[in-house]
Amino acid sequence: MYRYDAIDRELVADRAAEFRGQVARRLAGELTEDQFKPLRLMNGLYLQLHAYMLRVAIPYGSLDSRQLRRLAHIARTWDQGYGHFTTRQNIQFNWIKLADTPDILDELARVDLHAIQTSGNCIRNVTADPYAGATAEEIDDPRVWSEVIRQWSTLHPEFSYLPRKFKFAVTAAAKDRTAARVHDIGLVLRRARDGSLGFEVIVGGGQGRTPYVGPTIREHLPVDSLLSYLQAILRVYNRHGRRDNIYKARIKILVAALGKDEFARQVEEEWSKIEASQADLPDTELARIRAAFTPLDFQTLPARSDAFEAARTASPALARFARNNVKPHKKAGYAIVEVSLKAPGATPGDASADQMDLVADLAERYSLDDVRVTHEQNLVLPHVKLDDLPTVHAALESAGLATPNINLISDIIACPGLDYCALANARAIPIAQAIARRFEDADRAELIGELKIKISGCINACGHHHVGNIGILGVDKKGEEFYQLSLGGSGQEDASLAQILGPGMSADKVPDAIEALVGAYLAVRQGEERFLDTVRRLGMAPFKEAVYADAH
């Protein structure tokens, strides 16, 4: 965890006080809803179909037990007892009363949390690899750089009224768990041949109605030039991004219109005119931020835990959990544990207050007080001793949090859809639930292997359907909810956009269609090939045939 100091705390407190004043003016009728809207949107407060929704920032998806317990408390006190973890590693509360929001922000501020820049056309919460600081794959800790960006972008005077919202993802591992290539800016830390640390800078990826896999505009930006370079990108975008049409206002449209090379040239030209000493952080501050991450007290342990090996031999459930939800840690004797929020029949990403409390307890006792939120809407206990895995698994199981399905067919991303969202064409959550139930058989799910299904209730693509191995998009067909399937997307290091399979279908047909796709895959897959690899090898034809054969 990055430990706040007095300055960080006072900034958040000032923000909470400011919003309290604004809400008071609204409730007293001094502000109309029109005047209030931009103010509440600066604080993550949306008006949804049934109530206000409050989105709380979880910077780079990182929480300690104290913060998670506070989120549970908010869910219990001011919401209906649960919260929704999002693909931006944030949490949303769906049933909030306007008059309660100042108290909620105060509660959050007491544990260094806030809702700053979780909405509006500004730089949003920065997301990062949820395995940061735990995976051996990383070449540096992406949280340090995410925190640098968080501070720089917080209330940035020049970049708070951009043409459109702006999202960063930062990773330092070869395996991309952040969907960096479909963000406004994706930063991938790499070491050059000479050993120097730099960022691959990817700009202009995105989803929504015009999805793009972002091009790389710089292969190796020296890390200490990060902020001046970001300033150059943001300034080019702020000045030249389109503002006449919100559907064309994201940076991806500017990058595509100018072409990657011309966009890069404009950025480099602007960058060459920025005085680095004014824009980049001094080394002392970089060092301070790095040091403000609590050093973790890892023990020296053997790589193998007899207790865990014996328990997993005795318990098929633990063995399955270990196969799917437990990932290698950089320290011998430790593991990364994924906590699935995708139990069959559950709403993907939802966690009850009791579940949050339980995960907070486990984090405190068994994971060095560290919890992460993944962009795939699960939680992670990043530093669990192998010796403790049986206990942690049993505790998770008792709370319905041990579904062994990470990266499997029922580990579905779904947006709120028509159950909550005013923009939706169709429901997304019930589709996810129906598919998860259909593939509830864990043996079968493992046999199918990695398969990422992502569902959005409309073209805005909050559910990432463009980068689903199978994407499902809700559309409106003459007043009826219809679903369009697409195949072959990936949000990972091998990013690609899914292609539409064929005509849409009604909700009840979707699980059968998924069944048909899976059947076609299993019939032709070679060796260890994932569903995605098979689609890439064979193209759409066999899958189209499988789904639409009846229609001939």
Binding site: D5, I7, D8, E10, L11, D14, R15, A17, E18, P38, L39, N121, Q151, W152, T154, L155, H156, P157, E158, F159, S160, Y161, L162, R235, N238, R239, R243, K273, E275, Q278, A279, L281, P282, T284, E285, R288
Partner: protein, 165 residues
């Protein structure tokens, strides 16, 4: 005469606006004027040479760099905020101060609201024509809402990393 809020030496106060904001089709009045960029490029030289205080109105889609060589002779650069959420003028202001070294008045006009005061001040704007009837006191309160800032900007406020020193 319309009033402005002006910032000088850290204090916000009300000031009479002595400049006439002249549209392209208007007949040129006497006294200090603010002209569009086009009109300034046509008539500015003569007016400035005659000793008249002249300002230029820069629309959100116009580049302040086009004024680079005229800046030392300008009394005001008025940046238009067509809507409060159109943030281009923040970049224009920052460029005027940081890159082009302009030391005269930078004025915010258009959809200029109190909630933006802090950002405007930090980008180097020092005169405001509020569209929401704000008073200098209200403006000062809004601009001073935060005890700390994280990033270096045009103003002299020390960023958090300097405060931490």
């Amino acid at each position: 005469m319309p009033t402005l809020i002006k910032l000088a030496e850290g204090r916000f106060s009300a000031a009479e606006d002595v400049f006439a904001d002249v549209a392209d089709e208007d007949v040129l009045p006497d006294g200090p004027v603010i002209l569009s960029l086009t009109r300034f490029q046509a008539d500015g030289d003569a007016l400035v040479s005659a000793g008249r205080p002249v300002g230029v109105r820069i629309q959100a889609d116009e580049a302040v760099e086009d004024l680079a060589y005229d800046l030392p002779r300008l009394a005001v650069v008025a940046l238009v905020f067509p809507k409060y959420r159109d943030g281009r003028a923040y970049s224009s202001a920052a460029l005027l101060r940081q890159r082009l070294g302009y030391a005269g008045e930078v004025r915010a006009i258009g959809d200029v609201l109190r909630e933006q005061a802090g950002f405007m001040v930090r980008c180097g704007i020092d005169a405001f024509a509020p569209a929401d009837g704000s008073t200098p006191e209200g403006w000062a309160a809004a601009a001073g809402r935060y005890r700390h800032v994280y990033q270096r900007a045009v103003d002299a406020r020390p960023p958090a990393f300097e405060e931490r020193g």
